[in-house]
Symmetry: C2
Subunit: 531 residues, 2 copies
């Protein structure tokens, strides 16, 4: 049935310039009785149907549009959205290769009953699909490739000048981060005083928002940044609500909240590199209740055909991460020692998404030493969990006026100045290496339930025996230790996480193994089973 | 009635050579109808009655001896003990100046009805009486002088060679410690393999102990060491039981336990510088139950006329420090952040008596960096509590054989090699200074209930307003901070706890105070109210 041949599909599959582009639905190759035949779509890219429609009244609220996408026996219903100026769209991320067809439904006849077909072909190079939960407490892309989140935080980077946004992307290109926490709404908070270049809703001359009229340019801009991140292999941990607001977005009426959510979901769900973070510090949003967030979760569940990861970040009071609609925990707390209890209770991955930031601000959350920031990554990884970075380094010679707007990575993006990112890169490499090397390995480190020193293992898929063991000695500084290695043959390496040095020890080791150590604190070790 | 005049009393009061000596009761000045008139006894020193008695049978178990000491309307009953070779003794620490009289009671007539008198005169220079609880969560000597415990740990130092014991005393002379945790029974544990010079009970040729026959030389030796510590102004935190045993002292029958306790109490209670620690790691003593320790506490309460401080140290499971017979908590745990909860629950001082040790051993409890050991002292003090030091530093070039017997301060005493003691000395000085300077101060630091950064205050006795505030920034490294000082005028000093430097800031401060800081982690500040 396909109108392009296999060779063209392969060419398309390696056309990386398409990675950051929405495939225009109007790119019709032929039209037949069964509707438009579109150009092929690589798996996990965004397919878009664009239709002209009515402009009278408020098309955002008055026109319903959706489409059903069918591959064989599967049909996926997807909401469309109004993109302004008479443009109606439906976006869809095909998750399987093959011949897809669709038909639209609408409350207006001119948008209804439109049909079409496309071939979903091999994914682009570097595309692995959306990230989901894997092995209980870990993550993997849809194609099975393990994903180990080493995130950072740039809450309001998309609301800065274009040149600063470009600088942020340039920094991210070589930074060690593969996930970024970022807000949809602009932010009003200390060090965050600028007006955003775009507003999410139409505003009148007095700056009063009409929450029934989203601003398509605002959302298109964020989508462009999500696509930029996708091209860098970075997951966008998109924060849907947050309390730091002076425009009214934190205190919209419930109907407006729900409509906003549906609009975002219709526009953005087809981007594979999205995680939904229902809020930053949900419990600090005084106008909302926990039941509001329960409802938001249900709206996200019901309107996201991709089923992206879903969580919510707390301030003082945890959300119940045990709820079935939460895919992973997103904690603001640095109690890594409680991770075993939480993992057992929730049976989900844990992202320690805010463990304070490397910086030198006034505020306790923003002035960790680089050593402590890097140490917290180790503590999280040793707990079988994941940690998120942030940087709030003021120029030490700056004035003491916190109402100024220095560029701080945590808020604005820009460039990184801290000492932790290099060490986080080093740790990320160790974690990624732990999953590689043997197909028998079950990717992801698991903490030992009773650890004498902090240690975590990657185990064998079938017999659950450790294939690799990482130890982190924290502030302990033994000159020797009897490592209780499993039976077998292991290589041993001394690791200095701060100096980023790996020193192999001669010989092979197994069973109870006495090793002479450095007697310095904050050292690590790696034992790898010799197959 | 006194046979020595006031001038002689004053001479005696300054005779510091008496500080480490038991005043011999046989030092009779005159004998009259009302009994022996003894030489004057400085307040809080040990007065001793020595009487010849029967040697047949087992005088340890078969002869009861006690005395009643009377000053005006107060009478204090005190148990005597058999000291071997026909010597029976009663020791007594007079806690008030004036004319004391006594009369003995015994199950044998030759020890019964003996009477005598002595004047209790002004204390020796440097003697302040036994330490008790003060201001709810703090300590003070009986004369009201605040006592801030900065303890160390030498579990088995009295069971080492005499030369090593002398070296330990020499080290303690200039070390920053004013309390020492030490065991009565010898210890058998890793790095603790030597036989003690004395055994607590008579042993037969096969090394089997007769628990009915204490060895007076063993106890006299420990008393000599307690007196040596007293001369150095150091409190002996005497551990009555512990699990690390190969001689049978951890598994004696209940009657033997109780008899041993009564013997120790009769012999040693009169030493003012004793704290009773019922056990080290009581819950690791498999042959004993918690109810045994309840009973031990009652025996100590009922047989210690001085009412020395009483606690018990735990391994994994805390004893209930809320019991009324416990005077303070003695914890093996480093959860300083839980101190507010515990202080509120127990309403007693908390000594973090085992927070792991500066060292480089195999074992997690014995290989903290010096920085971390010193940091834990700051964390404890900021919590309004007290912390105990220990050192387990092996020569880094030593063999990996842990069955050797290197000299480790924590077990054997000897000399200190670590980097933490100098910093502990620096902190002790700060804490002592915090109580000085103004008679309006209520000695002892109290943690702020909701602290943004860790801080603790010494408050005014009457209005409870802070007179002095210490901040400890831990791993936070702000370049400035808005300190919420109380109204008033304060001096400010930057403190570097590791470099042990105090840098005064020019000017005076009060109310919300923005200060430029170093941007380095692990710094402290001191604010002192200008009267």
């Amino acid at each position: 049935m396909s109108l392009i041949n296999r060779r063209e599909m392969l060419k398309l599959g390696s056309a990386s310039s398409l990675a950051a582009t929405i495939l225009p639905g109007s790119q019709a190759i032929a039209e037949a009785d069964s509707g438009i035949q579109h150009a092929p779509v690589p798996q996990w890219e965004v397919f878009e149907i664009a239709l002209p429609g009515p402009v009278e009244g408020n098309p955002f609220t008055e026109v319903q549009l959706s489409a059903k996408f069918t591959l064989g026996h599967r049909t996926i219903a997807t909401n469309g959205f109004y993109d302004g100026e008479g443009h109606f769209k439906v976006r869809f991320m095909p998750d399987a290769q093959g011949e897809w067809s669709y038909v639209t439904e609408s409350s207006v006849s001119e948008l209804s009953g439109k049909t079409g077909r496309f071939s979903c072909v091999a994914p682009l190079v570097g595309a692995h699909g959306p990230v989901g939960v894997s092995n209980g407490q870990h993550f993997a892309y849809a194609d099975g490739t393990p994903f180990f989140p080493f995130g950072t935080t740039c809450y309001a980077w998309v609301h800065q000048s274009e040149s600063l946004q470009q600088q942020t992307l340039e920094t991210l290109r070589s930074a060690p981060f593969n996930k970024i926490r970022m807000c949809i709404f602009p932010k009003s908070y200390q060090y965050n005083h600028n007006e955003p270049p775009y507003y999410p809703f139409e505003r009148n001359a007095s700056g009063v928002s009409d929450f029934t009229k989203p601003n398509p340019a605002f959302f298109a801009h964020i989508e462009k940044r999500i696509a930029d991140l996708r091209a860098l292999g970075i997951e966008a941990d998109l924060i849907l609500f947050h309390p730091y607001d002076r425009w009214g977005y934190a205190t919209m009426p419930s109907e407006a909240d729900d409509r906003y959510l549906r609009y975002v979901l219709a526009r953005m769900s087809a981007y594979r590199n999205i995680w939904w973070s229902l809020a930053n510090e949900y419990d600090f949003m005084r106008a909302k209740t926990t039941q509001d967030f329960d409802r938001f979760f249900h709206i996200v569940e019901q309107n996201d055909p991709v089923s992206h990861l879903r969580s919510v970040h707390h301030g003082h009071t945890m959300y119940d991460y045990g709820h079935p609609w939460v895919t992973h925990a997103s904690l603001q707390i640095a109690k890594f020692e409680q991770a075993p209890e939480w993992l057992a209770a929730w049976q989900k991955p844990i992202c320690f998404d805010e463990v304070q930031y490397e910086g030198n601000l006034n505020s306790r959350w923003g002035n960790l030493s680089g050593e402590e920031m890097a140490r917290r990554f180790w503590l999280g990884v040793m707990a079988g969990c994941y940690v998120t970075h942030g940087e709030t380094l003021l120029d030490p010679d700056s004035s003491l006026d916190e109402n100024g707007t220095p560029t701080l990575w945590w808020a604005h993006g820009g460039t990184l100045h801290g000492t932790s990112p290099a060490r986080i890169a080093f740790l990320r490499k160790l974690v990624e290496e732990s999953a590689a090397g043997s197909p028998t390995r079950r990717p992801g480190l698991e903490a030992q339930p009773v650890a004498y020193y902090l240690n975590a293992s990657v185990v064998n898929q079938s017999n659950r025996q450790p294939e690799e063991i990482l130890y982190y000695m924290d502030y302990h500084q033994p000159v020797f230790y009897d490592f209780p290695l499993p039976d077998g043959k292991f290589t041993a390496e001394l690791i200095d996480p701060w100096e980023m040095k790996i020193t192999p020890l001669p010989g092979t080791f197994g069973g109870k193994t006495k090793l002479k150590l450095t007697g310095r604190p904050f050292q690590a070790l790696r034992f790898r089973r010799i197959p």
